[in-house]
Symmetry: C2
Subunit: 108 residues, 2 copies
Amino acid sequence: MVTIIFRSRLRPEHVEQYKEVAEKIDALVRITPGLIAYKTFDAADGEHVTLAEFDTLENARVWGENVEHLEAQRLGRERFYSEYRVQVCETLRAYNFADGRRTTDVKR
Amino acid sequence: MVTIIFRSRLRPEHVEQYKEVAEKIDALVRITPGLIAYKTFDAADGEHVTLAEFDTLENARVWGENVEHLEAQRLGRERFYSEYRVQVCETLRAYNFADGRRTTDVKR
């Protein structure tokens, strides 16, 4: 399993256009082959993080090189983000806790 | 580089005790050998994610097995969390964008 950690800070300009593009990208990633989960979280200081989980590195790469996604990335650099960081990560192990029980679902 | 992704949902009870323990853990992790960064983000639906970055898997493991941290984990299961997920991830690649420029700082 591969997780893309995308941390970002938005510039104050172009917020409406950003929302439009973000909605389009959100809809697009959800029909991308191999996507397991996609969710955004916000920090108290205004930084955002989106976690995108894919089944394989190859499918994560296909998403990274999707033509509409590349165009959104370009707009992101030119207009939306003051800074960002993309980390491509391989999950070595994963543990869950729910309903009072612990389980392991990834173990390499 | 190793990133621990800790996603959680809090139960409504024991919030004061949770805050106390979380502050202690926050102070403790910051003096743990090998810690690069530690930050918590919140989703609109109430889920939280903490990203803890370590230089090596060994140092991440030492943190996972720290005695005070183990005690906090036990309290977490018994009192604080309705559910959580821990992913231990290795960073394969990382890209940054800031001041209009792209840089790469991890490439495996």
